[in-house]
Symmetry: C2
Subunit: 183 residues, 2 copies
């Protein structure tokens, strides 16, 4: 049982999903490719933590809907309560480039930061869209801990929050770049 297994269980605890849907749901806090998700779901099924149901569809591929079992729920609970917090992992190629920023000319440096800002502006707009539609769909209920949407809502709000700050930091850094002209 690795972190990804718990991520899958955590999403399935809220709502039964196909592997395809799971991948999209995870994107805000854990990224995984479908080639990792599908075999792992099969493994969770042999362990009786989830069960699947084949849904035949017309006009589009059939899908398998996975549902968490009582055993799956208790395994997830146990992990949430007793597993010590592992440190988060951040890996960011952009920061490798920033580290060596002194070695490039000012225009390149500016270009790199501007590209970064474009990327984050886009992401932020998407996240805000999701947040808005969540608020519209569930209203005030979403802000209560008892709502199954609550955790998902917190995570999207976090992501949007941090993306805004990432942009603010970029602006600050760009400003320092500008001010260091001709020094």
């Amino acid at each position: 049982m690795n972190s990804l297994s718990y991520a899958l269980l955590s999403i399935l605890a809220r709502k039964s999903c196909s592997g395809y849907e799971l991948q999209q749901m995870m994107d805000a806090f854990w990224q995984a490719k479908h080639s990792q998700i599908y075999p792992l779901l099969a493994k969770l099924e042999t362990k009786k933590l989830v069960i699947s149901q084949l849904i035949e569809q017309s006009g589009r591929p059939d899908k398998k809907i996975y549902t968490i079992t009582a055993l799956g729920k208790s395994v997830l609970q146990e992990w949430i309560l007793n597993q010590p917090q592992a440190a988060p992992i951040h890996r960011d190629e952009f920061l490798i480039k920033v580290y060596a920023i002194w070695s490039v000319d000012k225009d390149t440096a500016k270009r790199l930061f501007e590209e970064r800002m474009n990327l984050y502006s886009e992401k932020l707009a998407e996240r805000e869209q999701v947040i808005k539609s969540m608020e519209q769909e569930w209203g005030e209920e979403i802000k209560r801990m008892s709502s199954k949407q609550f955790g998902r809502y917190l995570i999207y709000r976090r992501r949007a929050w941090l993306d805004r700050e990432e942009l603010a930091w970029c602006k600050w850094a760009l400003d320092m770049l500008e001010r260091s002209v001709g020094c």
Copy 2:
């Protein structure tokens, strides 16, 4: 040539380091274990991107100081200028738990957030310490793009900035938890 290779070159472009030192330097933007770093350095040496020099020490183990070559510098430059920005990776077990927060009782939920805040408070204090000592050591020079310290300084300021915001988000989330009593 993977991202880690460029991370190593980026650090070595600023200053020659041992593998041990490289690991510590990377910690703010890319985490890797020594078991990954040492063999990779050897590989970079066979490619003539770095050269090493054995330093014999008394009272402590000998060390190998790696220095970037002209070829290494140009390979790094090329990557910085032409390699499109890969999306950053975030993997955070805490957020898996937050996703399923609706399934635990309020006290457990509070405990999880408080542990998170303790972790980030500590990290933040450390980062701020490093920033302070950097500012003391290099003064205003560090704020100029031409300084080799500049990128490192930006990265530490970013990390501290985002850690503060992570804490702010936790406070906001805890407040929502509190307010959802008895609903």
